[in-house]
């Protein structure tokens, strides 16, 4: 090796002067980097400030409202609607809008499809509810035909709806509170009223415009006079008065110039006036709604975020819309997500971290399968959430529908009334079928076609009963093929997927597609009857097996954050010093005792923080929820894991997509609620971390 000659002064270190100059550049570089880091922070903080001001600007502001009946007139002196009891509120409804009550009932309970609403009994409209005495099994039509319709339905509403909903109904249908227009907070602060200068201008402008208009009128009269003069001159003698005509024409064009000049001035002033009026809230309200029938009130500082906003359900009127159902949906989902993903994630992490080292997989030559598993868990954490949505749709909503819909547990099963089944059975066969059912859906009397024995008929009835849970939004989820194959099983019909050899001889599309082999139909049953059976069944069915529930969504979100929880928990377990493991083993602890008594307690803060941060991410997820079928308009609160649901981010997404401006404001208010939830979760994470810090 070629070593450099050692310098004369016997050192490799730079001399004093070089050192000094280098030192300067070293410090300089340090400062350059520091500036860069500060700039990064500034950018981040600016972005946050812009976000927050934007949201706050929209969530608060000014509104101009009007109503048909003043709430105070309804509620009594000095009281608001929320001071009233449910009875009083219902009484108002019954008194003022007796004929609207059936519609109100229909809109607020969506357990039966709209077209079946009038034939449904109250018990079907609100299963597991409370009913006015003696009306449990009365259909809406019967109630409508009877006396005291409004009182009965009113009592029904009062028994089955939370107060917030009733207030909403009163506000919507009777007070008819209407927000005419809304402005953001910035406008409320800066452009509420015209400033003194603006006001002066506002006062001046109409005067000026009027003056100009008078001038204009004057000029136009002159023009008309002159034109009349010309006409007179022409009538006398065009040739003799040629000069006079020419000079008058010149005068006219001069006047016309003046007039157009005046017109443009007036236009300018008018523009200025319009701009001034529009740019100030009070003036624009005066202009736009000044001659409205009902009194217009301007609320200078209106918060779209209010306790009422939290307590009322969705509404198509922005001012009355709330997020209660969404909030409940999000909270239930959060609880399920934690219950599912925490144990599974921590268990997986414990396995990977503590056990995987010496399992069978680790003994493969060349590849370390445990490492591959770990790497893939890490990759999963980066998979876009929409893909988890697709996964959830395929697995939880469709494949596991019997579980996620709750049907397996006897929830969400609401069989159609027996008389309806009897009707359908008769209708579908087009045959002389005599069928009577008792209330347990057992056949008590039966005469039917040859191909449908009493036993088979009973099984078809059972099928109806099983598939029949009417519900508006979940119609038609059970594929026709599935229903048909169920019937085929009962009747011993062979269903196959190949096109039969004699396909072209057959007319019926289902048969032609090879779905049913005609020859296997029971004697006497036509293919039409078979198809009609399937179609009819489909008409009452398709509700039970809808997996679009809170549970499916929560399971999907759990899948989504599972990798994150596993990774976090692994990090937390890895951070437990080996000395603690040794200490525990050294005292004669088994592996499980060591994990349970030493490693887990020491890792809990890390695991909890990781989990909470992951859950707060899940709470804000939107894409997978859209895919697994969150409802966008839901008035009923979710009441368990098997309910339809909506969630905060879904609401925000929905509202921001609406064209009406006021929805933007309530979207901002909902964003504040969502952000608060996330921030609270993160704060809990921080508290846990600092609380358990320095434990080892």
């Amino acid at each position: 090796m070629n070593k450099k000659q050692k310098p004369a002064d016997n050192t490799y270190m730079p001399d004093e002067a070089t050192f000094k100059s280098r030192l300067q550049s070293r410090h300089l570089w340090g400062n350059v980097w520091r500036t860069f880091f500060i700039l990064s922070i500034v950018v981040a903080i600016l972005a946050l400030i812009v976000l927050f001001t934007n949201v706050i600007n929209s969530a608060f502001g000014t509104i101009a409202t009007t109503f048909e009946i003043e709430p105070e007139t309804l509620a009594g002196e000095g009281r608001t609607l929320s001071d009233l009891t449910e009875e009083e509120l219902v009484a108002i409804l019954v008194e003022r809008e007796p004929n609207r009550l059936p519609v109100v009932v229909r809109n607020n309970f969506n357990n039966v499809p709209d077209e079946e609403f009038t034939e449904s009994t109250l018990a079907q409209v609100a299963p597991n509810g409370s009913y006015p005495d003696g009306f449990e099994n009365a259909t809406i039509n019967e109630i409508r035909d009877g006396e005291n319709t409004a009182e009965v339905l009113g009592e029904f509403l009062q028994l089955n709806l939370p107060k917030g909903n009733i207030i909403n109904i009163v506000e919507e249908d009777i007070v008819a509170l209407q927000v005419l227009d809304a402005w953001s907070l910035w406008d409320a602060i800066t452009n509420f009223e015209p400033t003194a200068a603006e006001q002066e201008r506002l006062d001046e402008l109409p005067v000026e415009i009027e003056a100009l208009e008078t001038q204009l009128a004057d000029v136009e009269t002159q023009i008309a006079d002159k034109e009349a003069d010309i006409q007179t001159l022409r009538d006398e003698s065009a040739t003799d008065n040629a000069d006079a005509i020419r000079s008058t024409n010149a005068e006219i064009s001069e006047l016309q110039e003046q007039s157009s000049d005046l017109l443009s001035q007036i236009d300018d002033l008018n523009d200025e006036l319009t701009l001034l009026i529009s740019s100030n809230i009070t003036t624009s309200v005066e202009r736009d709604f000044g001659d409205a029938e009902n009194p217009v009130e301007i609320v200078r500082y209106h918060s779209w975020l209010s306790t009422e906003f939290l307590q009322t359900p969705m509404s198509s009127v922005p001012a009355q819309a709330g997020i209660r159902t969404a909030l409940y949906g999000s909270i239930i989902m959060m609880v399920i997500v934690i219950l599912v993903s925490l144990p599974v994630g921590v268990a997986a992490a414990i396995y990977l971290e503590e056990y995987a080292r010496d399992n069978v997989l680790s003994r493969f030559p060349l590849v370390n399968i445990n490492k591959i598993i770990e790497t893939n868990v890490r990759n999963l954490a980066g998979v876009p959430s929409i893909i988890y949505g697709m996964l959830g749709l395929a697995i939880f909503v469709r494949m596991l529908a019997p579980f996620t819909s709750g049907v397996v547990f006897g929830i969400n099963v609401n069989p159609p009334p027996t008389n309806r089944i009897v009707n359908l059975m008769e209708e579908l066969t087009n045959l002389e079928l005599d069928l009577e059912l008792d209330e347990n859906y057992n056949i008590t009397a039966y005469t039917g076609p040859e191909w449908l024995s009493e036993d088979d008929a009973q099984r078809v009835v059972t099928l109806f009963r099983r598939y029949g849970t009417p519900s508006v939004t979940n119609r038609g989820n059970v594929p026709l093929e599935r229903i048909e194959s169920d019937i085929a099983n009962i009747l011993g019909i062979r269903i196959r997927n190949q096109v039969p050899a004699n396909a072209d001889e057959l007319d019926y599309s289902r048969v032609a597609s090879g779905f049913v082999e005609l020859s296997t139909l029971p004697a006497g049953m036509t293919i039409e009857q078979f198809e009609s059976l399937g179609q009819q069944l489909r008409r009452v069915s398709g509700f039970t097996l809808s997996g679009r529930t809170v549970l499916s969504a929560a399971l999907t979100l759990s899948l989504l954050i599972l990798p994150v929880i596993i990774i976090n928990a692994q990090e937390a377990l890895r951070a437990v010093p080996n000395a603690l493991r040794e200490a525990s083993y050294g005292l004669g602890a088994t592996k499980w005792q060591t994990i349970w008594k030493t490693i887990l307690p020491a890792a809990v803060p890390g695991i909890m923080t990781g989990t909470i941060l992951a859950v707060s991410r899940a709470v804000g997820e939107t894409a997978p929820l859209i895919v697994v079928g969150a409802s966008t308009f839901l008035l009923t609160d979710p009441n368990g894991p098997f309910s339809q649901f909506t969630a905060l981010p879904i609401q925000v997404y929905q509202w921001t997509a609406r064209p009406q401006g006021q929805f933007q404001f309530i979207a901002a208010a909902a964003i504040i609620v969502l952000l608060t939830m996330v921030l609270v979760l993160n704060a809990v994470a921080i508290i846990i971390r600092s609380r358990f810090d320095n434990r080892y």
Binding site: R581, E582, A583, Y585, G586, L587, G588, A602
Partner: protein
């Protein structure tokens, strides 16, 4: 030269290591160690860094099992059983042969819970009995008077020397036969070190103790027997292979006054290591 100790008929051995070899993967770390460890006596392991003394101590209560690649051949006889024989549960071995580590490693729990940890593992649940055990163990580790009023304080709030004595209390709480100490005082200041040595001579008198130490004075002051380990090197196909070997085992006084081996003499007189 490999030392072969004589097993005396009259001696009562708590443990005997016979031809113990330790491998880490393909690496042969310690070769052919044979040591008789007498009951109720303190046996010290000394030697330069990397000579395998800690490794040997860890094989005694099978802590080496926790290292994936570690493999042990030879026999460690304890009460007539080979600790590396078939069907021996390391959990049982560790309960009989306790260990104190180089760095104090109390659990992030209260002092009481630290000491009660071992008894609880073994199924002692009665509060009064646990209290009795905790007090006796803390007295045994000469810590009782200092902490009796704040047993609920975190074990981590103690000073380094107190933490190490807490670890000793924790170890004797399960009443082991043998206590292994892997450089228990190396992370402590001289006064704390002195306390530990005093503890070994007085409170722990009667326990069979194996102590690894870097400090020759400590071995000289505290132990009855001393084993000197050294590093052997060999050139194999241009690569230097190192391993540890036991050079000499003698009663401490004899080893330090008239070492049988030249190497021992060089080491104790400070020529290397």
């Amino acid at each position: 030269m490999v030392y072969t100790p004589e097993f005396r008929q009259d001696a009562d051995y708590a443990l005997t290591l016979e031809d113990v070899n330790v491998y880490y993967g393909d690496y042969h770390a310690v070769k052919d160690v044979t040591i008789p460890i007498e009951r109720g006596k303190i046996t010290a392991f000394i030697g330069p860094s990397g000579c395998g003394k800690s490794t040997v101590v860890k094989t005694i209560n099978r802590m080496n099992d926790l290292v994936d690649s570690a493999r042990v051949t030879g026999k460690i006889m304890y009460r007539g059983n080979n600790l590396y024989g078939d069907g021996v549960d390391p959990v049982e071995v560790r309960r009989r042969i306790g260990m104190v580590f180089q760095k104090p490693n109390p659990f992030p729990k209260s002092i009481f819970e630290n000491v009660a940890y071992g008894p609880r593992l073994l199924g002692v649940k009665d509060k009064d009995i646990l209290h009795e055990i905790v007090e006796r163990s803390l007295r045994g580790a000469a810590l009782w008077d200092e902490v009796k009023n704040d047993l609920n304080k975190s074990g981590l709030a103690l000073s380094g020397g107190q933490q190490q004595r807490l670890c000793i209390a924790r170890t004797i709480a399960v009443e082991p036969d043998v206590i292994l100490m892997d450089e228990p005082a190396s992370a402590l200041d001289p006064i704390a070190t002195q306390r530990i040595e005093q503890l070994m001579r007085e409170e722990l008198a009667g326990y069979t103790i194996v102590i690894v130490t870097h400090n020759m004075q400590q071995a000289q002051r505290a132990s009855d027997y001393t084993c000197f380990f050294n590093i052997r090197k060999e050139d194999r196909e241009g690569k230097e292979i190192r391993w540890g070997e036991l050079v000499e085992m003698s009663p401490t006084e004899k080893l330090f006054s008239e070492p049988a081996s030249e190497e021992t003499h060089d080491y104790i007189s400070g020529r290397f290591g």
